[in-house]
Symmetry: C2
Subunit: 258 residues, 2 copies
């Protein structure tokens, strides 16, 4: 599969990569809307029509960049989870590591982040091949939750805060599709946390925190911890105060709940 067949094929791979790299550079400099085949070609010392040997049109190049970006942020999250798990972190630590990895990637690649989590590019509709890469971060988070669930470290939300039936139905259907082992109520909260995680990242990347939040890393770390609790992860006990015996403890005290 990775065998190189000849000079032609090797060259093709390299030029394709060079085109994407240059396109990414222009994305970072100007944003997706200003990405142009002509200027990519110019920068590579090619004539613009030559790019059509590699990408059928501008949208196809955009799709390649989108897929690469989803894969990059997804892989960052997956690696963070793997590293945390290897070093013996608990599920809460793995969750935080995954979220941090997403934020770090976004800060390092703001325009690629905007390409996938910002406004859709006008006149462009994402083809089906983007669907799988787009789900990697979400699946990584689900994986963390699943391991927590297996270890008995997840509590479904209290009965007074259960999601409504339609939402649980969606979650149940999704569980079937993904073949995962989680209570539907937990998955529903997890989907909300997933969206909310990107709300935190987007506000930081897109400048909404200017003049509002200065201690951004600390703010983010704290917020994603609370997201985890919302999704059902046990909060650390604080034995000296009654509040310490809250969400997590209540869940543990109610084994009938899942």
């Amino acid at each position: 599969m990775n065998v190189i067949r000849g000079a032609r094929e090797r060259a093709r791979r390299e030029v394709t990569q060079a085109i994407k790299d240059e396109a990414r550079r222009q994305l970072a400099a100007e944003g997706a809307a200003r990405l142009s085949l002509r200027s990519v070609a110019r920068e590579l010392g090619m004539v613009s029509s030559a790019l059509y040997r590699y990408f059928a049109n501008r949208d196809e190049l955009l799709t390649a960049l989108i897929v690469d970006a989803y894969d990059a942020v997804g892989e960052a999250a997956e690696r963070a989870v793997a590293a945390a798990t290897e070093t013996g972190a608990d599920p809460l630590g793995a969750w935080q590591a995954a979220c941090r990895a997403v934020r770090d990637w976004a800060l390092a690649h703001p325009h690629e982040y905007a390409l996938i989590y910002g406004s859709p590019v006008p006149g462009y509709t994402a083809p089906p091949e983007t669907v799988v890469p787009a789900s990697r971060v979400g699946l990584a988070l689900i994986g963390v939750a699943e391991r927590a669930h297996a270890a008995g470290e997840l509590a479904p939300p209290p009965e007074s805060q259960l999601p409504p039936p339609d939402v649980r139905d969606d979650a149940w259907r999704l569980l079937q599709q993904l073949d995962r082992d989680l209570p539907p109520t937990v998955l529903a909260e997890l989907v909300a946390s997933w969206a909310q995680l990107f709300g935190l990242v987007s506000f930081e990347i897109f400048g909404q925190f200017n003049r509002v939040v200065d201690a951004r890393a600390e703010f983010f770390d704290h917020a994603v911890l609370r997201l985890a609790y919302q999704a059902g992860f046990h909060a650390p006990a604080a034995p000296d105060t009654p509040e310490g015996a809250e969400a997590g403890e209540a869940g543990r005290a109610a084994p009938a709940a899942d």
Copy 2:
């Protein structure tokens, strides 16, 4: 102030409005990146250079649209809060109403939403005049929380989940600036909830919920309720289960906390 001085001034107001309306129409059809002075002028039956009597350049028109959009969504949220308060809703109801208003506005004006909460427009930097309109939704949410706090219906987070010192410092500074009466820990959670609210809306508007969430209104309503609890609003008690006596109750049991 609203006195009309003459035909010239009246005409100027009307044409300015017509330009913005047509620009908004094109925004909805094509997105911000494709908004062009020439096509706005064309559609209005004017020559493109005539627009320069009304807006110094393209960026100034964009700024006007951005300010209008922030004002529109901010006003929607404020009205929803006022209506809820007038009809005797509790703070939790007002919170939910505000969030729903934001979502409804976004669904009705997806491209204007993308203009203000999506990727920044390349080559455009928001001038200071956008800052105040941009804060209206956040201030509406703070207002709801403040009324809840005054009514004793807000609990700061449990001690084991307090935000770190730097985050509390940010919150304290912000409280001074805004001259609001809330515990800093609550404001910190509120800022996170604010960002997370837009995460939920953006994921829906930008298509990330496709094939994931079907019951979108129900999902949203439930998620923003949990956001409210996270920010400290009392959850409804569920007297028949121990979990019912959770977050909110614990807060009430610890008056020393604020």
